[in-house]
């Protein structure tokens, strides 16, 4: 055990901090601390420009291998990068779905041609991605997807028909990775394909869904014979589930450390308010602040411990317990924030319905325990796969025709 960073790593830290200090200025100044949880809909254009600024400095995809355009950073350096990024108040990344999910999946499962076609746009911050998994009938039961992909040999295209829902940032994205049924007679996780689909085409219609925050970050996406090239299926038809599940492993990689730094910023803000408005005199509030601090440190130590034993920066084992822990912790933090604000917590920044950062956070944390696997599903997984407890009865269902 060696619980400190090397001199070389500390030098890297200065490099990151210095770059951010020099570049998060001018037109980007207004993005500081924006675009985080509950605020993802803000400044989309400016944040796209920021992605490209990052790319210029070589600060996108820092953990990817150099062969794919990444920076090839060690785990320690990635940790440092995310720490400094959050400390500087740099904005929420609009490119995170491409960098954190689509890219790693293509690197792990994609063809050479797919790597050449898609990775450069992600690295350059010019092409944004969204995730098309959920459907009206396929939420927790993801394997129940009904969207169909039919191969049209004359056009040499897959034609995709169906509906996705809750698709975050679909309206800002250039591409979507989706799972769709390649075998119409299949059920559950058999007979699925994993497709890389261009969003700007006549067969795709995007309708925003308004969230309880009053803003729209996610969407319904309708596919009506939307085209996807014969070469744009990842893995073979029928292997989509394997690819999709591989991707869920990436969802909880090193990027969790960046999330923890955002949490730290939120907790700091709450503590400052509690000091200023006198809420910190309330012993119950004091105890909850201490609990929040402890919870955050637990997440941090745990991630660092797991990461330092991992080869590739993914957190396969820890993924089982981490989602449940952080989502519940964050929801509690939202409640603490409102209790610290007291009666002022109700009053918005400005009409119409303009929320403060902590109010947005409070509403947004309600979704943390839902997306990416609900708390209940996480507990089932921990009990069944982690502890080997008897499985819940599974009902086999036949996928019905959606047309």
């Amino acid at each position: 055990m060696q619980l400190s960073f090397s001199a070389e790593d500390e030098q890297f830290r200065e490099e990151v901090a210095g770059w951010l200090q020099r570049n998060l200025t001018g037109e980007f100044e207004q993005l500081k601390f924006r675009g985080g949880p509950g605020d993802e809909h803000m400044f989309p254009q400016e944040r796209k420009a920021w992605e490209q600024k990052l790319a210029e400095g070589g600060w996108t995809c820092v953990g990817w291998p150099r062969a794919y355009g990444g920076r090839g950073c060690s785990i320690e350096q990635q940790v440092i990068f995310f720490e400094e990024y959050a400390r500087a108040g740099a904005p929420g990344r609009v490119g995170h779905i491409g960098e954190g999910l689509a890219g790693p999946t293509i690197i792990a499962f994609g063809s050479q041609a797919q790597k050449e076609k898609y990775l450069p746009g992600i690295v350059a911050g010019t092409e944004l991605w969204c995730q098309g998994y959920s459907e009206p009938g396929a939420g927790s039961d993801l394997a129940n997807v009904r969207t169909r992909a039919r191969f049209d040999a004359t056009r040499n295209q897959w034609l995709i028909t169906g509906q996705k829902v809750w698709t975050s940032l679909a309206h800002e994205s250039d591409y979507c990775f989706i799972i769709a049924r390649t075998d119409p007679d299949s059920a559950a996780h058999q007979g699925l394909g994993f497709f890389l689909v261009k969003m700007d085409q006549p067969g795709i219609e995007i309708r925003p869904i308004q969230q309880i925050t009053g803003t729209s970050e996610f969407n319904e996406v309708f596919f009506d014979d939307a085209e996807c090239g014969a070469d744009d299926i990842v893995g073979a038809p029928g292997e989509g589930w394997k690819v999709a599940m591989g991707l869920l492993g990436f969802e909880r990689g090193v990027s969790t450390l960046g999330q923890q730094m955002l949490f730290q910023n939120e907790l700091d803000e709450i503590v400052n308010i509690a000091r200023d408005n006198g809420a910190a005199r309330d012993p119950v509030i004091r105890q909850r602040i201490a609990d929040a601090h402890i919870g955050l440190k637990i997440m941090r130590y745990n991630s660092l411990r797991m990461l330092s034993g991992s080869e590739d920066g993914s957190l396969q084992q820890e993924a089982l317990i981490y989602k449940l822990y952080w989502a519940s912790w964050h929801r509690d933090l939202g409640e603490l924030a409102m209790d610290v604000l007291g009666m002022q917590s109700e009053i918005l920044e400005a009409p119409p319905y303009e929320l403060s950062r902590l109010q947005s956070m409070y509403l947004f944390v309600r979704s943390d325990t839902i997306y990416g696997g609900t708390n209940e599903i996480q507990r089932n997984i921990i009990a069944e796969r982690g502890l080997g407890m008897p499985r819940e009865p599974k009902v086999q269902i036949k996928v019905q025709d959606s047309q």
Binding site: D141, Q210, T369
Partner: protein
Amino acid sequence: MDFTFTEDQQLLADSVATFLHREVTPERIRASWEGEGSDTRLWQQLVELGLPAMLVPEEHGGLGMNELDFIQIAQECGRVALAEPLVEMAMIATPMLAQLAAGSQPCARVLQQIAAGEARVAIGHPLNPAVADAGIADWLLLASGREVHLVPSDAATLIRQDSVDPSRRLYTPEWDRTAPTYRVAGEEAGAAAWCAALNRGAVLNAALLLGLAQGMVAQSVTYAGDREQFGRPIGANQAVKHHMANCAVQAEFARSPIYRAAYAVAQDPARAHIAASHAKLAAGEAALLAAKNAIQVHGAMGYTWECNLHIWAKRAWALEKNWGDAGFHQERLHAWLLEDTTDIGAEHTFDYPAPEALDSAA
């Protein structure tokens, strides 16, 4: 001892409940979010039912009823998430006017107008962040220090504030605090009146919060029966059932302290501190848990503006912080409980705290 409602009280509550469930639909609530809000026709219907006049004393033309007659109605208002300010106006502002009417002609006159369905009164307690529904009120009961001012709403400048709950229309009022005609109670009488109003407000809000909790549980139970995943209703999963059962237990157990506190307030509002704080804490906890679990059980659907659930959840979040937040009420309870002289044995279940104990809990 008789810890039940009379047949008349129950009949009244049931008939108002039937009316509210028929008339107060989510569509109607959403419609009231446009513009300055307030559903004029709905208010008229409430007046026709005699609800605003219930707590106006008979000598001022009202029905002379009390908080115990009203408490179950308040609960039903919460259950349907009524956006109209019936509860604050009829059960908090009106009794405050009645308390002051003996020494104040203006208060007596306004009571007459309320009884006739001609006036609405909004109340601005210092423990609340703003004055709800001041924009549609004819009169405002406002605090200047401990004094009580009764101000015609057109004599005040109202600054609109948005609430996290789109149904709540909040205002910060500015008025000429030096004008002698507005003052209806000086420092001493005012302090007593604001104290009684706070206790009423806490109990009343507790009933609303309980109703909101029950409304959210009902919607979620229905949703969990309809929504299918893995080939069966999501409500078939123990995890989902337990979320709902936990809410039901909390809500059910909040009822007794609320009814007990309504009794205390009806008897002697200025000494109802402990019962009122207890009720508010129990109901606030039940409502927050219901909001949390109801959204969770709805999945992503519960996170949308389109789903009606947020009408209830946001009201619960807002009201839980009004008329004293949890910290305030816990503090009142602690201050009283930890006095050397406080008697908390079984034989004191229905006692009122001694006045000296209330000073430390004020």
